[in-house]
Symmetry: C2
Subunit: 217 residues, 2 copies
């Protein structure tokens, strides 16, 4: 395997809309670098089911739960000395999902203000271990919808096209204002992890240069 120039203690986070391929890249990249993975914890969530039955009653609880879990995960990664690839960032919980609830009224303005002020106090500070690079996966909506189709998760298949369209737009708006750490944008149409072994090498090189460019600052 070709030598790579990504520091052993790097923290790499993969962001992007539902179905765009975060988990696949997270696992492939971690394997290639000999890094550990930090994957989304879905099953122990005590609020998800209650939330799906009553958005307004439980959206605040759900988002606070995600914030706590993500914050702990980030600290564990930092205290373990880095060397992790992380599937979805703490920034998306706030910038995409909590914001969507607030815009749609499923989270009250007061609750959203409490939530975001907690997020800013906890995360948007030098004490919080921000990733060395956030890889932002983007792609054409049609390609992403095909992937969601192929993946075949029941809840996702029942979700309306307009929801995915809105999510796609929200992600584009979010990343355009994102500056909490260095970003590497990858188009899913430009690589093929499953059928082209070289794809990952090219991505590794791009990550290394982003990290190096920012370490010189």
């Amino acid at each position: 395997m070709k030598e790579h120039h990504i520091p052993k203690n790097s923290i790499i986070t993969v962001a992007g809309t539902v179905g765009v391929g975060k988990s696949t890249l997270t696992k492939t990249l971690a394997k290639r670098l000999g890094f550990k993975t930090s994957l989304e914890e879905v099953d122990h969530n005590p609020y998800l089911e209650k939330f799906y039955h009553d958005f307004e009653r439980w959206s605040f609880h759900l988002q606070i739960y995600f914030l706590a879990e993500r914050f702990k995960e980030q600290k564990t990664i930092f205290e373990a000395g880095g060397g992790f690839v992380q599937d979805r960032s703490i920034y998306e919980d706030t910038g995409i999902f909590a914001k969507m609830h607030a815009d749609k009224g499923t989270m009250s303005k007061v609750d959203y203000k409490t939530y975001t002020s907690l997020f800013e106090a906890m995360v948007m500070t030098p004490y919080f271990p921000h990733p060395d690079v956030l890889i932002y996966l983007e792609g054409d909506l049609e390609n992403i919808l095909n992937r969601i189709e192929q993946r075949g998760r029941e809840m996702e298949l029942q979700t309306s096209r307009s929801y995915w369209e809105e999510m796609h737009t929200r992600y584009e708006n979010w990343i355009s204002g994102f500056n909490a750490c260095p970003v590497l944008k990858l188009r899913i149409e430009d690589y093929d992890l499953l059928n082209d072994e070289n794809s990952i090498e090219n991505i590794v090189d791009q990550i290394a240069s982003v990290i190096h460019d920012n370490q010189k600052k």
Copy 2:
């Protein structure tokens, strides 16, 4: 005024049950040391009134709100370079009030677990700016009840004696297990800030020695 030996950047937090005299000591001490005060923010709280009408519905929101506000306050104090006396600590929100809700069932076990895991992730870490000394005010329940009587706050006067008795016991249990930072215990029967000018000098000397003892560690 006599020279004192408390470092200019110290963070001093005053803890103790309702009515024991935290605010009086906070203000007198800050004035004597030329420090700033960090006082309890009661009026902007968007949940307090809703909470008093429906404990179970709003206890989680209220406690998360306090946690966010207290966390921001602690960071502001730290980033201002210290030199503050703080009225009530972030530890009491969790150790006394949130715990009381959980014990009485006004906060569900799931919510309490989410809340405490967030608190531990955020606060019980070396990154969090813990106070240089926590002054714990204690006293006989009868003396404290007299003070509450004299203070004459409507909501406190309507609160049953058993509530204050329970709070008194909870504080004793809490402080016996507290170890997040150095503690100076003061009995309210041992000083009189209003009528004895020397009282504050004696307290200042005790604070200085606690801070110095712990700086040598």
